[in-house]
């Protein structure tokens, strides 16, 4: 069984990439692999904005993250990227605020790092 880290680099408005990351993550889990972290970097950090509230006919982004969280996946937000973008890091929902170093160590221990953007 392999250990993965996944990183998401595009903003929540890129619904297409978001649904693809989630399906990839679910396929990893189904196959019995570990996902050590899903890491929000670059404009991906906006996924942790508590404001995020989309219309009913749009991708149910919040529900998808909630589900991954409930499956025990470590959802992380890069504090450096968030601060550069002026995001409020006191209110990041299911995402844990983390330093880049924490992610870099997880990535260094992982078998595979797959980027989504």
């Amino acid at each position: 069984m392999a250990r993965f880290v996944l990183s998401l680099h595009s903003a929540p408005s890129d619904h297409d990439t978001t649904q693809r990351l989630v399906k990839f993550a679910q396929a990893c889990l189904t196959q019995g692999h570990n996902i050590d972290a899903i890491f929000l970097y670059q404009n991906g950090v906006f996924h942790a904005s508590e404001q995020l509230d989309l219309a009913a006919d749009e991708l149910a982004i919040n529900a998808l993250w909630q589900q991954l969280h409930e499956q025990g996946i470590h959802l992380m937000l890069c504090v450096t990227a968030a601060e550069k973008r002026g995001l409020d890091i006191n209110n990041t929902g299911v995402f844990a605020v983390a330093g880049l170093a924490e992610f870099a160590m997880l990535a260094s221990d992982a078998d595979k790092w797959v980027q989504f953007k």
């Binding site: 595009s10 408005s13 619904h15 297409d16 649904q19 219309a55 749009e58 991708l59």
Partner: protein
């Protein structure tokens, strides 16, 4: 009534570019200006028929593109060369369009008061 041209050149699911352009086009029609929309490069793919993004959870905005006809937006233009590049012809498209070569695109641009690139 003024002439306004919306330019699109992003691929259909490149962020919200095409959806933003669609909203802008519809609103200028609603406020009764003479709106035109020109698709170039991968943007022409947004006009391809039979796309069903709702099957992967995404909003099907192609349905809204079809409403352009209901709102009497008739000036939908595509770059002739871009259609060729993606193997499309006018019969593969959601709405009726006019295919323009570069000279015709230049003429279209010359007629506008405002041009917005979305």
């Amino acid at each position: 009534m003024i002439n306004v041209l919306v330019l699109s050149h992003h691929s259909p699911f490149d962020d919200l570019h095409i959806r933003d352009a669609l909203d802008m086009t519809l609103i200028f029609a609603a406020v009764e200006q003479n709106i035109s929309w020109l698709f170039s490069g991968p943007a022409v793919l947004a006009l391809k028929k039979h796309q069903q993004p709702e099957h992967i959870g995404l909003k099907n905005y192609f349905k809204t593109i079809r409403t352009l006809e209901i709102y009497d937006v008739e000036n939908i233009y595509v770059c002739e060369k871009s259609l060729l590049e993606y193997g499309l012809d006018k019969h593969n498209l959601l709405v009726e369009v006019k295919a323009l070569n570069y000279q015709q695109q230049t003429q279209l641009i010359a007629q506008q008061q405002h041009i917005v690139n979305l």
